[in-house]
Amino acid sequence: MKIAWLGLLDSDDATASTRAQDHLVRLARHVVLASRHAWSIDVISCGRNPGCRALGAGVERVVLPVAGSPRTFWDRVSWALPAALSAADLVHLHDGFSRSCEVGLLIARQARKPICMTEWGVEGYWLSTELALRELADVVVCHDVAVANSLVSAKRVELATLGIDVRRIGVPAAWPQNHCLDAESLGTAMPTDDEYAAAGNTLYGTYRGLVDRVRRAAA
């Protein structure tokens, strides 16, 4: 079983850090552990140095070549994205403010792949909010109970509690500014490994339910 993850990683280039990657890899490792290594996760982004490298057992970082001349880090997308998603059994989009997530949503929905989308409660991104793109997902994942409770959505909402503020990872300033919102005042604390394990277990259960549903429908 292969899961494709998109999102958040553009912020690492903007902040010259690995905060997004660290967060995703810690979470991914626990999903893979929960699957007893039966599943693998490709953590996909678009960047100037395309290639693949393992980030742990069952977790691979895939960087796709950037298409065109994007204005900001979050505008980057790749013509290789359809091929990269074609083998995935499920796609999880971890943000609602990057073009790779928007295009990934389009590709995955059109191919009728099960889709999870993380909702951070961040507003102000026209395409995501105005078009209510999360309604194209099968499951909306929230890491914060307050965000989950505030959601108005026809879609299933799953809470995978994780004490992390997305602004710590990096939220883009208003387009076309090519930097993140200031997050200095938020401190540096990150969730514990136990918290990641619990969230990973929840995600694994969510994924398994979605994939089983697709298999039953296909049968």
Binding site: D13, V66, A67, G68, S69, P70, R71, T72, F73, D75, R76, V77, W79, A80, P82, A83, S86, R99, E102, V103, L105, L106, I107, R109, Q110, A111, R112, L127, L131, A132, L133, E135, L136, N178
Partner: protein, 434 residues
């Protein structure tokens, strides 16, 4: 059957044979009792409402020379994106018509100009059965932004499409696949056709010493080889023959060909006769006003209806040795094939003028074959069978339970339209790369 036909243009609007054939096939299906609705773009030519034609789609400015020539690069490319990739308005109109008409099958024609990828993508997502009539490499053109091919998009499209196809020639299929769109579904070759009833056998053919009357019809441009025909006329004259005329029917879309007869000193032999209604042209063939139909078209010509219409009445086809219609006829048996050069066409005309080539057996055989194998009524049962096969490949849609899926499709179309616009703007406006 309930058939929803989708075409970018529909008469009175047309560019070439694609749209005319679409209308002829629709008429044939209506005559045979099918319930047909045509979904096409708002007319560019004023016309009266027709009960079975819904003209609600928007046509992007990709066929409009004024807009294409006057637009800035970014405008042209934005139009191209809307023409090929996504037009959310058109997806909404399609969804609306699907819900209202509830067809058993959707019969696609040329979709360039309508954001065709979005339309086909919507049908695929909704699992609505479709058959695509390919008279040009339309799927490949939908993966281009004007001259820029998008191979990754073509590859993804090929993987994704699961309908069936009728193609007018093998070269159309090869051209589509060469562009990266692999046609996975059932592909059947089906030629274009003629209308009407078989006339009495033509008895009068060209004899040496008479005036050789040559005709060509279609778009008057270099891609159709009109310049070669004019140069051929000059070569034939240079060889000492004056007893021939070439009449050219059609809009002169390429202004560079208009002065060529004068430049080559054959303005008395070659005449641009302007656009001529199809019925009038066929009436001329039926009156045997011409001996040869010259078709020095380009190699990527998907089919070419005009020479077949002429051949039906005994006008002998002289065509480029490599073109779509040539796949259906045998050289020296049903037609004359020549290399796509002025010399080769001049050689054929000279041979006819000098009595070394007898047109009568070729003209009679071609006419017999056209009326036997290329009549619309002969081909209609094959189209019906293809539509029925396409409909049977998927379960009948449950139209009462589709609203959520329709919402998904429209959201995806809106997103695709915006993303395409953004990509085009960035490419054209040279944004600083992140």
């Amino acid at each position: 059957m309930k058939i929803l036909v989708v075409s970018n243009l529909y008469p009175p609007d047309f560019i070439g044979g694609y749209e005319l054939c679409c209308a002829q096939m629709v008429d044939g299906l209506l005559d045979r009792g099918h319930d047909v609705r045509v979904l096409t773009t708002t007319p560019r030519t004023p016309c009266r409402p027709q009960e079975h034609v819904v003209r609600e789609l928007a046509l992007a400015n990709c066929y409009d020379p004024f807009s294409v020539l006057h637009g800035q690069p970014v405008t042209r490319k934005t139009s191209a994106g809307r023409a090929a990739v996504a037009n959310a308005h058109n997806v909404h109109v399609l969804l609306d018509n699907l819900q209202r008409f509830q067809p058993e099958v959707v019969y696609l024609w040329n979709l360039l100009g309508t954001g065709g990828l979005g339309l086909v993508g919507g049908l695929e997502y909704l699992n609505v059965p479709w058959l695509w009539h390919l008279e040009d490499c339309a799927p490949r053109l939908l993966c281009c932004l004007r001259d820029e091919e998008l191979p990754a998009l073509a590859a993804a499209l090929g993987q994704y499409l699961s309908g069936s196809y009728l193609a007018v020639s093998d070269r159309v299929v090869k051209e589509i696949e060469a562009g990266g769109v692999k046609l996975k579904g059932h592909v059947e070759l089906l030629p274009n056709w003629v209308l009407g009833e078989r006339p009495p056998v033509r008895s009068r053919f060209y004899r040496p010493g008479e005036l050789l009357r040559v005709v060509s019809a279609g778009q008057m441009g270099r891609h159709k080889g009109i310049h070669l025909l004019i140069e051929a006329a000059a070569l034939v004259r240079a060889r000492g023959h004056e007893n021939f005329r070439i009449d050219l029917y059609g809009k002169v879309g390429d202004l560079s060909v208009a002065p060529l007869p004068r430049e080559h000193g054959v303005e008395d032999l070659v005449k641009f006769k302007g656009a001529c209604p199809q019925e009038d042209l066929i009436a001329r063939y039926a009156r045997h006003e011409y001996d040869l139909f010259a078709f020095p078209t380009w190699a990527r010509e998907p089919f070419g209806c005009a020479p077949v219409e002429a051949a039906a009445y005994g006008t002998v086809m002289v065509m480029s040795e490599s073109c779509g219609v040539g796949e259906w006829f045998v050289d020296r048996v049903h037609c004359l094939k020549a290399a796509r050069t002025a010399e080769a066409f001049a050689d054929v005309m000279t041979a006819v003028l000098e009595g070394r080539l007898d047109l009568k057996p070729i003209g009679r055989r071609a006419s017999a074959v056209v009326w036997r194998d290329f009549r619309r009524e002969v081909l209609l049962p094959r189209v019906e069978a293809a539509l029925a096969r396409a409909a049977d490949r998927r379960p009948a849609a449950d139209w009462a339970d589709t609203s959520a899926a329709f919402d998904d499709v429209y959201r995806m179309a809106l997103m695709a339209e915006k993303l395409t616009e953004a990509l085009v703007q960035e490419t054209c406006c040279g944004a600083e790369a992140a």
